[in-house]
Amino acid sequence: MCRSNCMRRFAAVSLRVTVILVAGAATLPARAADEHFGIEPVRFINEQITAGWSDAGLQPAAAATDGEWCRRVYLDLVGRIPSVAELDRYVHDSTPTKRAELVERLLGEEYEDEFARNWTDVWTTVLIGRDTQNEQVSRPGMRQWLRRALAKNIPYDQFMEELVTATGVNTNRKGLPGFNGAANFLSGKMVEMGVENGVQATAKTAQIFLGVQVQCTQCHNHPFNKGKQNQFWELNAFFRQTRSLNREEGSGAVQFVELVDQDFEGEGKNPEEAELYYELRNGLMKVAYPVFIDGTEISKTGYLPGKMEDGTPYGANRRQELAKLIKTSPNFPKAIVNRIWGHFLGYGFTKPVDDLGDHNPPSHPELLDGLAERFREQSFDLKELMRWIVLSKPYSLSSKMSAKNASDDPSVGEKPKFSHFYLRQMQAEQLYESLLTATEADKAAGEEGARKKDTWMSQFVIAFGTDEGDEATTFNGSIPQVLMMFNGELIKQATSTGKGGFLDKVAGQSIPNAAKVETLYKAALARKPSKNETAAANALLVARKGDVAGALQDIWWAVLNSNEFIINH
């Protein structure tokens, strides 16, 4: 099918390869195509990871099946499982480079909206958490900005800069000029215990964009790493021109927040050398000026940039200076490579992914450094980084362990070797979108379905939402989650046999019952039923006394509630 299309796509892939080859200046062996699709960073990943296996005496798991690989790459890139049509198209494709082609499509125009939606979900949780109660944060504002930035795939250094230096109104509302959704990253992190000190802004910026955990050093020198208390406050000094202003309309309630930069006169009231003071554990007060984590100092002035009457420039915008320093920091690409790697492989090179440093050595230091370098050379292109990772060998392995690699178990504190694919629970949003893909529940419910989508989604996030720090690699299910999947409104809709719904359509096809069951399996699990499962399904057909739709409903219910459905594997 679509031979000419495929050829065209393949040509596009080859073209890209040429470009990378020149940029990477690497000579690739001729038989490379199968192994790393002619992409140098993929080859680099494979070499590094494979070397780790030999060192540890591990043999990697077998390759994942086409169905498994297709399912996971849809889940990880666009946030949902593939539809039956999408699955069939991939599985029945016999082109040797079909993996690269699917990735090309998922990162391309065809899936642009879904890609942006998925990564908006991911980044929203990273940047502002799941707390919906912070009145100084507008989630819709944050999401609106993210969606645009991610659809355009803006370079990651620009992405960081826009968030770290944002000013403007955080809510997009009619008649409010100056909207900038990026302001929501910091708008809720400036005030703590009634004090506008930017402590949380400091901690989160360092954690997300530099992969360093400075929050402990707010109060004391870090017990395990080299972090010193002065470093926290020197970094914090970069946020002292920033104000998160509650703008009110009418009586009392916060209507919106405006993030602004203002001259900082300093706690000693000398704006030329605007300092802040912090308290040591012994009660002594110490002074701090803006100094970056690598010791780079910037001007001590608290004035924003301006020009004197004679044209001499003065002042500095501390957050803009900070963004420049972050951009050139070696930690910046490392932190994002580690985070994105963790997204796709279940574990980053360090645990947690945002705690880099000598106290927490990575599992694959050369790989982390090398990918970080390549990412910088590739102009901080996030989609490119994702392409390298999903086309790599470790991403292609089965989650089935063998005696030769079962010892590779990061859940017990071992450093990950990525010799088999680590299971992880779908995020709330992935599960929700996957349910809709598999069941067309929203379509079955007609107009009401479209209206109800938001309600269902919020029920899901309440029941399944885990905060950003949570490990997705352990199943953290609760009874209310299971009850919701057993008996909740969305599942009832998804398993309804009503006219025009998914089950009705499957039941109505003039194909054998076994083929109907197979359709359900493919839709949810991207595979065919086993012998045992076929027998179990037949038992249900018997129990329903020939009511095929009823039996399919029972099977569908069981499939959707299974570990295999809810887990990315």
Binding site: I479, E533, A539
Partner: protein
């Protein structure tokens, strides 16, 4: 279990169905075993400790309830009355509680800094101020985590929250998250609307899929999922779910607690604690009285609180459960001593009261004191951490307990709060 479905040709349907029933029985606890335990319920009661938190969402004015300042310009409209505890006086609109104060202790020297609803609620539940890097567990999760082992056959989740979401389990994980029900004990999504036999058939199918995935050795998450499935199916058919059926209580009992949501919730809390649940939170909102506070308290809030709380205290005492059950009463903060132009009081965290009782607490006492206008604590001030440490001590939970947060950092239980020594004899 999947072995079942190698159904040989010629097996009769009846025979087959009986197999299914057998399979289902495996998934539920042996009824006989449960019954034996129920017979020993009285014995069990003595062995397990529990806590009930009466959470007053919105920030109740403790100056008008537990620490009155009659005659002061800030004193407001209410008089105080003496109580069953020597020298302890409370609001005239708490006459039923006045008869139970010999079981309780008022801490009048709470002094905190969080006067925002969300932050105060988090702080009073966890002992920590909100921190975007770590999610701390609240009272319910901490206490459930520490006490869950004491009732071996408990199928009900160990932390039940009635009428509100409480605060989550944070780094302790979803097992310890609040199990939220409404005040009539209704559990969301408990009933799928299909008959038991069909559900069991579905579960058999589900088991076939689960088991296949597990035997393929893909790691722990697949097994953990099945464990939660089993817990849930157990719960759905558990006889312990009777504890939620609060409407089964005799009419007099329903009336004693009050025919309203909070009354029902308190009665439900007693039923759950009786069945071995280590922690129950019951929410009563509506305390954010920025305007017209005295009418609202007198006519609406205090009568409901007084009736249900006093019923709970006396009921637990009558049943001999009070020594093993801690009761806590608090909101996220209190309200300004100054009365505003609208006849209300605004947010105030600097000087306020909480109430505790039962468990290992000294009873019939007042701890601490505020100034004549109620604006300052004049004795040693206590924090959320201190209160939490005291509650844990009264339940026999070691204050040396340390948790490990997701980032690997050790977290001392109750944020290293200091026990309020006056609360212990």
């Amino acid at each position: 279990m999947s072995r079942l479905f190698g159904v040989p040709d010629g097996m009769s349907r009846r025979h087959f169905v009986s197999h299914l029933a057998g399979a289902a029985a495996l998934a539920t606890p042996a009824t006989a075993f449960t019954n034996t335990l129920l017979a020993n319920a009285a014995d069990m009661k003595k062995r397990h400790k529990s806590a009930i938190l009466l959470w007053m969402g919105g920030g109740p004015s403790t100056m008008d309830i537990w620490d009155l300042k009659p005659g002061a310009p800030t004193g407001g409209e209410f008089k105080q009355i003496s109580t069953s505890a020597d020298g302890v006086a409370i609001s005239e609109h708490m006459p039923l509680m006045a008869k139970q104060m010999h079981h309780m202790a008022i801490v009048r020297s709470m002094s905190t800094r969080e006067a925002d609803h969300m932050r105060g609620r988090y702080y009073m539940h966890t002992g920590y101020v909100p921190n975007p890097n770590v999610e701390y567990p609240g009272y319910g999760s901490v206490i459930a985590h520490e006490l869950a082992d004491q009732v071996a056959d408990l199928e009900i989740p160990p932390f039940v929250s009635v009428g509100g979401g409480s605060v989550g389990a944070g780094f302790l994980g979803m097992t310890w998250a609040p199990f939220v029900v409404d005040s009539n004990g209704n559990v969301r999504n408990l009933d799928g609307g299909i008959d038991r036999a069909r559900l069991e058939q579905r579960l058999a199918m589900l088991s076939a899929i689960e088991d296949k995935f597990i035997t393929e050795k893909r790691g722990g998450a697949s097994l953990e999922h099945k464990k939660v499935l089993e817990k849930t199916t157990k719960l759905m058919s558990s006889s312990q779910m009777d504890a939620f059926k609060v409407s089964k209580e005799p009419k007099e009992m329903l009336e004693k607690y009050g025919e309203n949501g909070f009354g029902r919730g308190c009665l439900l809390a007693r039923r759950l604690v009786e069945r071995g649940v280590p922690f129950v939170e019951v929410d009563l909102g509506g305390w954010d009285n920025h305007a017209d506070i005295f009418t609202t308290l007198r006519d609406q809030k205090l009568p409901v609180l007084d009736q249900a709380m006093s019923a709970l205290v006396s009921d637990l005492s009558d049943r001999g459960m009070l020594d093993d059950t801690v009761i806590m009463w608090m909101g996220e903060f209190s309200r300004t001593p100054n009365i505003n132009g609208g006849g209300g009081r605004d947010h105030w965290a600097r000087s306020w009261s909480t109430v505790v009782g039962g468990g290992g607490f000294k009873r019939g006492i007042v701890v601490g004191e505020t100034s004549a206008d109620g604006k300052e604590v004049v004795t040693e001030p206590y924090t959320s951490q201190d209160l939490m440490a005291s509650v844990l001590k009264s339940l026999g939970i070691s204050l040396e307990t340390t948790f490990t947060a997701k980032n690997g950092r050790p977290m001392k239980i109750a944020n290293s709060g200091k026990v309020i020594k006056e609360l212990f004899a």
